[in-house]
């Protein structure tokens, strides 16, 4: 898909700028040029497409669909909705309480809360662009498994007493909040959203690809394999822990992970790292602390973290 740009960026680096092909600096510059433009094009197209689709879904609609669904099938549905619904961790409180108010079981709410940030548009766009559709599918698929089972287990543990704000369940059925939009309005909304996100993350992409380009050109693969890649048992848990404080930096970290895997970091470790970055977010935990007991948040993080850990180990073992 980007062969033309691979050639063109090569021509720019080696003929216009005059760097020597196969030299360390030449490889690094070529990689930087190629990767930044490729990532920017993919980010803009995918985020625009996703946010356009998402104008048809909002969290209010999801709540109406999920009302009255039984356990497990509710968990599956909530996790699937998490892929296509826009979600901002600043809305976590009204979402959580609003779902409870609609008598949606807590476990189903958690399935949604795990799946929505895991399948955020930036992560999906970068994964697709850097690792191809297979790894993206594996990421989404196993992310769904973690969300479905994680929510289901939390639901089975009967932890309702750890919700700090009493919610009165509403009577009767919910009515959908109806907001009509034309196709042009949807496109404009999606475009505004895309540029907004792009402004927030382009610098991280530059820095991430910059460091990646340096590693690509100058750091030998044996070095990475020895320190970041190996099959040491602690590689996966370390990746999960490191991912927790990195939520807002997914855009910068993923290009780096791409380079690390091409230099020998194991794919399971990389997957666990990416899932931990998106699914376990420290700011979201701080927000939820206002309505949930620390114990419940710890259990939530523990179960999701354990699920990610398993995904990491399984992939290191089979791939």
């Amino acid at each position: 898909m980007f062969d033309w740009w691979e050639k063109l960026s090569g021509t720019i680096t080696f003929e216009l700028v005059g760097l020597v092909p196969k030299s360390q600096i030449g490889e690094a510059v070529h990689f930087f040029l190629f990767d930044t433009l490729k990532i920017f094009i993919l980010l803009i197209t995918i985020i625009f497409a996703v946010s356009f689709l998402r104008t048809y879904f909002n969290t209010e609609k999801v709540r109406v669909y999920l009302q009255g669904k039984s356990e497990f099938s509710g968990n599956v549905l909530a996790s699937l909705f998490g892929i296509i619904t826009p979600f901002c961790s600043c809305s976590a409180i009204p979402l959580f309480l609003g779902f409870l108010q609609a008598r949606i079981p807590m476990g189903i709410t958690f399935s949604f809360l795990i799946s929505a940030p895991l399948n955020n548009e930036v992560a999906i766009a970068l994964l697709f662009g850097l690792f191809g559709w297979k790894i993206t599918a594996i990421y989404i698929g196993f992310g769904l498994v973690v969300a479905i089972l994680g929510g289901y287990i939390i639901g089975k543990m009967k932890l309702e007493q750890y919700i700090l704000i009493p919610v009165t369940p509403m009577q009767g059925e919910l009515e959908d909040v109806k907001i009509e939009l034309s196709a042009a309005q949807r496109a404009k909304e999606a475009w505004d959203y895309t540029t907004d996100i792009f402004k927030k993350i382009y610098l991280y992409v530059f820095i991430g690809v910059g460091i990646g380009a340096f590693i690509h050109g100058f750091v030998p693969a044996e070095f990475i394999a020895k320190y970041a890649g190996g099959d040491a048992w602690y590689a996966v848990p370390l990746a999960v822990l490191l991912g927790i404080p990195m939520y807002s930096n997914a855009a910068g970290v993923l290009p780096l992970v791409d380079v690390l895997t091409s230099k020998g970091m194991m794919l399971g470790t990389a997957l666990a790292f990416m899932m931990s970055i998106t699914a376990l977010s420290l700011p979201e935990a701080m927000i939820l602390k206002r309505i949930l007991h620390v114990k419940l948040i710890a259990i939530f993080f523990g179960i999701v973290g354990f699920g990610i850990l398993l995904v990491g180990y399984v992939f290191n073992y089979i791939l």
């Binding site: 909002n58 969290t59 209010e60 709540r63 826009p86 979600f87 901002c88 600043c90 809305s91 409180i93 009204p94 979402l95 309480l97 609003g98 779902f99 108010q101 704000i165 919910l174 009515e175 909040v177 907001i179 909304e189 505004d192 959203y193």
Partner: protein, 78 residues
């Protein structure tokens, strides 16, 4: 008109409040602009993604920061 901005205090909610005030100033006339912070009050409108804009008790938009022109259009349409 009674214009309410629903939000629990996130950055986008404060931004929408500012935008709405500007739009109301452009529109002219007497209108009441209220910021609703109480989560229980917010939930009465069946809104689960903030910020939301409510005009005369009717939810006009949820989960996004609107531009001044968009708010102005919604107010004029009312």
């Amino acid at each position: 008109m009674k214009i309410e901005i629903l939000g629990t205090g996130c950055a986008k909610c404060k931004a929408l409040e500012e935008v709405t005030k500007q739009a109301v100033a452009q529109l002219g006339g007497f209108h009441q602009v209220v910021k609703v912070d109480d989560i229980m009050e917010i939930m009465k409108y069946n809104v689960v993604s903030t910020p939301a804009l409510v005009v005369d008790g009717i939810v006009k938009s949820t989960g996004k920061l609107l531009s001044e022109t968009e708010v102005l259009e919604m107010l004029k349409a009312n």
